[in-house]
Symmetry: C3
């Protein structure tokens, strides 16, 4: 494998005279991939039909001549003003019913057919113009779908699209009424054109109504992306089609979008995400303010590796302070390098920094680049150079692929929608639940794969966990039935039918030979009223009342005498949201039984197995002696005494496994 | 008296084949009343003028044949889609100016004349069809007026209605200008059509303007309810007309609506209300998370007993976890029984559980029923059965009526509106103030009646309290003048004229022979800056500067030398919002002087006198020996050692009174 | 100088028969100035063109005959209903896109040309009618510009006005695109009519776009005020034109408005502002709940002294509890007097109380006056009487002018807009930063002048501070170059170009001979992650990474080795937001070096030098012996032992300076 570094570059922001020097400096830094063009529509087509592609061609030439490989973005995340003025109903509408305006980015509605046509037109023009250019190595479709919460729109276009989508799905109003349970509260409709969008209702709308709207909205993103991917493939053969996803973005199904991509990529901003998208408490945020959450990036690396069946990049890597979080600290020295190596440890092909040079103007002027706005090298530059040099030395020694991980988590976007629609308790959040499981396994030193519920391949894992799954597919049921290892299911997994109803014979909707357990009812709990287990530990936020059949064995019991964890063969069902210590114990024991070697890692230290090597990362503020984990000998990279922000790589055989 | 149990049932949710079995199980459980039909408009009239009442007739027949008595609801809380599409301006408009949409329930504007006509039409059709059916025992109008904050609407219909209402009230624009003080800030109008609704103003609107709007909005609810009640009475003679009120809902005047009802009922959700509608702190909420606030239900029992002059029900009793609060815990075992008995102790005729079977679909799928969705008995079923059995044994021994209570609180809906419009300090809330008084009296073991300011009958009480009354009626002044017992007035009681102005000779607006006290000014206080009294205790949130005349005596004085509590004959005026300890002391002393026997009850224990018996309830988590309160002998129900969730009933003569 | 007291009076609120007695009582209290008329449009012109000025003429006559001087307000803050109905598009529109309605005050859009014409018409009519009346001493334009956040409106009128403003500024769309950096995110426009207002965008709009909108909105206030001032000057020669500003209102440039005024005044509500507009913590708010923040009024006194080059008033002085803050406590006895004297100590010509008599009706009925609503003297009356008596005794002894203060702060409204647009860290607020500097200097006993960045006269100060200045003018650069004293610059001062871009050679944009320092990047910090300095103290919220040139000297260094405070000649640059202790130390040392005598004042005690006297004020709750500060001899006013709420005045020579 040929791991590469990349960078995001905006030739339209700089005098053309500077391009050659920029390209040369990139090349000399060790950059291979350069992403360009994704916000340049107003420069590519300043007025309808007036294409000005020459400058872009010259930019591609310059980069190509410097030996760089171009990733060309379609500019559809920033439709220009003239286009918006031509079709103002392309603008998205908030749940508050107010139309969003031109003036920033992502000001379009995925469901608007007219805008979709415009996107196909500009994509086609670009693909025809540059698709065969030898400097073009790949394409990026649009930019950061859903960023700024732009998937859900309540526009007339969305309403018409949703009605048509429902008609295709249900065929008849009666079928829709039945599936949604519209007899409740006289919500029945007699024509599809009567269906409203589920916003601005007096009290909560029907959950099945919302769930279908969420499915529709996700499908619109898939449609939008596929339209571009198809055109690119037709006119730019051999090039990879990529999209850059974001962190903790669950509003569309990335597996579905990923099915139309060659490579999933994502934009990794560890410090911004810790500030802005973390459930952790203030003490944790303080502790990692300059390092980022030790597990958040890893989770997304593993997730996006799954969405494109293995091939994935970091398209935008934070290189210094950003501008968009409530607080924007500087990364601790060494962290940009650490983040880059963490990505490679999870199998990334490319880590691309955002951006080459800090722009002194407009919205992102406070966002660092590899270069300062005065073109002097910033800290990120130096760390990228170090990674480049280290990659040069090590790339060939490392395995081509990350290989199968120790354990798997089944992950499913519709489950996130379902529990957002019906949390039942304020704290019940699907990402939070899954991430609790993920972090716990990572604290145990385990390497993790994320597996889609829709196509679950469970073979070879020492442990599979299935928390909070909205509804099981037959494929998953079969996979679990066939799987020989340990499976930890629940809480709330399989608790609904696909129509968002309680299953006929109560949750979980699983055959008795899989789990002979019934959840008779549940309760959601204030943080200060946990349910304690007789064996120690507690359920927080959520607990279920289980009735377990004769084939099951009670492993843990609540203080009030209800089964808390039951076993049936190699499967366990967990009837509550465990506190961190309890979850740690449960998983550690199951991992042991599954023959996995676990380590007890303190907060800042993390491991990742990649092929025949193990990587260690120190997000913490103090050094750590890896010998304590059984590491022996001089690591390939780094030292046994791993410093703050340090990285170490050693062969599997010397990692105490 | 024949106390009964009831249940809410939705035949339209289940296969008709199941109705007979359901009815038989209800009857065998001891259910007498069954409420049906209140959300079924789309099934009763699927298209304009196409009435499909047959199924409902069959459902009534089935229930009747099982010996059950039907409470039939008018379906007007859920107008169907075709009706909304015919007259979209019937939809309510929020204070934000945004129209609410079809898709849940209560999507109508009380002031919309066209929708009112539609409601009369469907009510008439139902009353004609079923009014004389022997199975029909009572009717419920609509469902939970104001639920989801639906009384106040800022629609064109509301604006037109408000202008007409003002014209009737004031006759001339000049009179309105004078009453409102519109000379202030040039707010004068010259025609009624110039009056706007008081939303979306740049800063706060005129309080008299808002007060009149609140009165208008309340009157619209009264009009809406009366229109249905009149039709039902005309066509279903001998049946009771009932509406089901909600908890802590003060936005319309329940005394006014109650005047058109035979029976007030309310929907009692102790756990949901504690989570969602309580001012208590987190520790209190934790302590009673599975039991409910020990005083919240009692308050509403006493309130709704007053709104229909004695006859009242619980129409919906929480039977298990609900779905709509921030957290939805399960009731502690025994609490459903306790809540039922608490209602009977306050004089309820019927306690009806919501709902028979948990619906597996739509918005309330996570709301428990007496049956689980798979038709197995849930915990609430078993507790209802116990109540049924106990009622069978005890009903005849208990008095027909609760009888006059020990003490009275004067309660007034417009006062709630007034202090919401003009809190003057962030914490000043009428319900909170009144509830502080209520809880304190209940902690002292006193039984309480709630008395409307509009028709105050004070005879026979040992103590009357009048906190925070917006404006006194002449009738109340006369009643207080005639009353021989102790009266505790204030804070803020009588502080405004009916036109929401400061009285000419300052508050309280009372004759000098009643109270020769003037409030020269007030201050609202941060929670951390209470005003301490020289005699101990403090005023929090609110204190008044009193000038007391020569006929008064100073009972308590603030640390800075201002009268805090003054006496004039048997009347006392309290010049601040007392802390809990201070209020306890003041009321205990006054109760003693009034010849009342008080008890010092710990947080979870409560008493209620009903005729010749005293009921004890243990909301707490530990057992308590009622002998400590002077109880002797074996109670009629329960034991002297009352367990958590326990109920005990003993004759008055053995209750240490 | 003849310092006077004043009062705000509303003859239209009271029976004409009462005016004579009111005037007599005012005069006997020692009131000189009486403001009237500013909300009376509906009485002055009840229908279009029907002027009813007679009553106002009679009111002026009555006041004049009592020896009082009238300040006549233009009534343009409260356009009457008939006018709004004629031109409903004069109503302002919120950032939420919703139009605000008639029903309170300030319901107009500054950018609406039609309303501007109406304001000129009514102003002209009033100026012609009363401009030459001997009782008219001054005029007030409108009332409290921006109160209730009314400067920024997103109406069609504002959009058209903004586009025209941009056309005048930029001449060509290309120039605008260049200045704003619109190439970023394809935001380019090709005609000025394409520019939108910067609200309701999907994510943040371009900061330069917003900055220009803020400049435009400020200019509209200036235009509005100037239109009235010009008419008044033309028709009422010799009278002062005044406007009454508010506290912590930064949304329009008060220096620009002030340029068209003879006298700046402001409305000083110490208790309301502490509750509603303070960044201080709860403990501070508790401590000063009845006294007001010891520095907030002083800051605004100094600020508004600057906006009209020395002449300034308090137009509305809080006389007792108000009605509009979250809590509205009563001032501690003596505070109304103290606040009055604090104003005179900062050079006020007049302190005018709001209002004469509490109105018992409408929005402000809970706002105290000098009289209660029953015409009895309230506490404020007695304190005003004391001030009047003391002024009578002392006025002639005191200097005419406050004189130049010890130190200066450069203050600039656009800087407030800039950091509101781009805080980069949640806590970065310009007022808060400047006020930290102000309070620190005041804690050191220093008297302070506020100096506009646009016209900086720095001569004679012992120290000049320039925190957080958006962009330096050439005049300021020259003034600093010429200035011999110490200058403390930063953080974030000079960090942008006028087009809101990062300067070419990085911030601060200052010549190397002034400061050879570069801020390479910054970080914003969580409150719990300060950056500690090697010498003690810390930066909170914000710190900069400095590269300092060879001419500079490092004074303080962060724990991670970055220059924190660097010196170059008499200039220092501070690379972070210092904690209070650190700022205290830095300023104390610089003040010492500048030859200033500092005192260490505890929280509640404050000093102000005025000409040849020093004033002391005790906002605290305990007495203090001024001898400890070096005061000797009996003060002119008060005692060396200064009681809570006490005031003392002593000659400079006896104040230990």
């Amino acid at each position: 494998m040929n791991r590469t570094l990349g960078v995001c570059y905006y030739p339209e922001h700089w005098p053309e005279a500077q391009w050659v020097e920029d390209a040369a400096r990139m090349a000399s830094l060790g950059i291979v991939h350069v992403r360009i063009g994704e916000f340049a529509w107003s420069r590519l087509e300043p007025r309808r039909g007036v294409y000005e592609f020459d400058w872009l061609g010259r930019a591609i030439d310059v980069l190509h001549q410097a030996g760089l490989k171009v990733v060309l973005g379609t500019p559809t995340a920033t439709p220009p003003k003239w286009l918006v003025d031509e079709m103002p109903d392309m603008l998205p509408v908030g749940a508050d019913g107010l139309t969003r305006k031109f003036g920033s980015r992502r000001h379009y509605d995925f469901a608007h057919d007219g805008y979709l046509e415009e996107c196909k037109r500009i994509t086609l023009a670009l693909a025809k113009a540059f698709g065969a250019h030898p400097g073009i190595a790949a394409w990026q479709t649009d930019n950061e779908y859903d960023c700024h919460n732009t998937t859900l729109s309540y526009s007339p276009a969305a309403k018409a699209g949703f009605q048509a989508w429902l008609q295709r799905k249900y065929q008849s109003p009666e079928a829709l009424n039945r599936a949604w349970g519209n007899v409740f509260w006289s919500m029945e409709i007699s024509e599809f054109s009567e269906v409203e969008l589920p916003n601005l209702t007096v009290t909560e709308p029907n959950p099945t109504h919302v769930m279908d709207f969420r499915r529709f909205a996700s499908d619109m993103v898939v449609r939008f992306n596929k339209a571009q991917a198809d055109i690119i493939r037709a006119h730019s053969p051999g090039r990879d089609v990529i999209h850059n996803f974001m962190g903790r973005t669950l509003v569309f199904d990335h597996f579905d979008v990923g099915a139309d991509l060659d490579i999933s990529s994502w934009d990794s901003y560890p410090l911004g995400f810790l500030e802005d998208r973390s459930d952790q408490n203030d003490d944790w945020k303080r502790q990692f303010a300059h390092a980022g959450d030790p597990d958040f990036q890893a989770f997304h690396h593993d997730l996006y590796r799954a969405t494109s069946k293995g091939r994935w990049w970091v398209m935008e890597q934070q290189p210094g302070p950003v501008n968009w979080a409530p607080h924007n600290p500087a990364p601790r020295n060494g962290m940009v390098r650490l983040w880059s190596w963490e990505a490679f440890a999870h199998g990334a092909e490319t880590v691309s920094y955002f951006r080459w040079r800090q722009a002194p103007f407009a919205q992102e002027q406070m966002h660092a680049g590899l270069l300062r706005s005065d073109s002097v090298e910033a800290q990120g530059f130096h760390e990228a150079a170090q990674v480049s040099s280290e990659l040069g030395a090590l790339d060939r020694e490392l395995s081509d692929s990350a290989g199968k991980a120790d354990v798997a988590i089944v992950f499913d976007y519709p489950s996130a929608w379902a529990w957002e629609i019906q949390p039942q308790g304020r704290e019940f959040d699907y990402f939070r639940l899954v991430f609790d499981f993920y972090r716990t396994m990572r604290r145990l030193g385990l390497s993790i794969d994320i597996v889609p519920a829709s196509a679950p391949d469970l073979e070879g894992y020492g442990l599979v966990t299935i928390p909070g799954l909205f509804t099981w597919t037959p494929a998953l049921i079969e996979a679990v039935r066939a799987y020989q290892g340990h499976v930890l299911i629940g809480p709330r997994s399989g608790s609904k039918t696909a129509d968002f109803a309680i299953p006929d014979s109560l949750p979980p909707a699983l055959p008795k030979d899989i789990l002979d357990v019934r959840v008779t009812h549940v309760e959601s709990l204030r943080e200060d009223t946990p349910v304690y287990l007789a064996e120690g530990g507690s359920f927080q936020y959520w607990r279920e009342f289980l009735e377990a059949g004769p084939e099951t064995e009670n492993i843990l019991t609540t203080g009030d005498g209800v089964p808390g964890l039951v076993a049936q063969g190699n499967r366990r069902y967990l009837g509550g949201w465990p506190d961190q210590g309890l979850l740690y114990d449960i998983i550690m024991r199951l991992a042991s039984r599954g023959g996995l070697v676990t380590k007890e890692l303190r907060d800042g230290l993390r491991l990742r197995r990649h092929g025949n090597h193990v990587f260690a990362f120190n997000y913490g503020a103090t050094a750590f002696d890896l010998s304590a984990l059984g590491w022996t000998g001089k690591p390939l990279l780094g030292d046994l005494m791993i410093e703050p922000s340090g990285v170490a790589i050693t062969p599997l055989s010397r990692a105490g496994s």
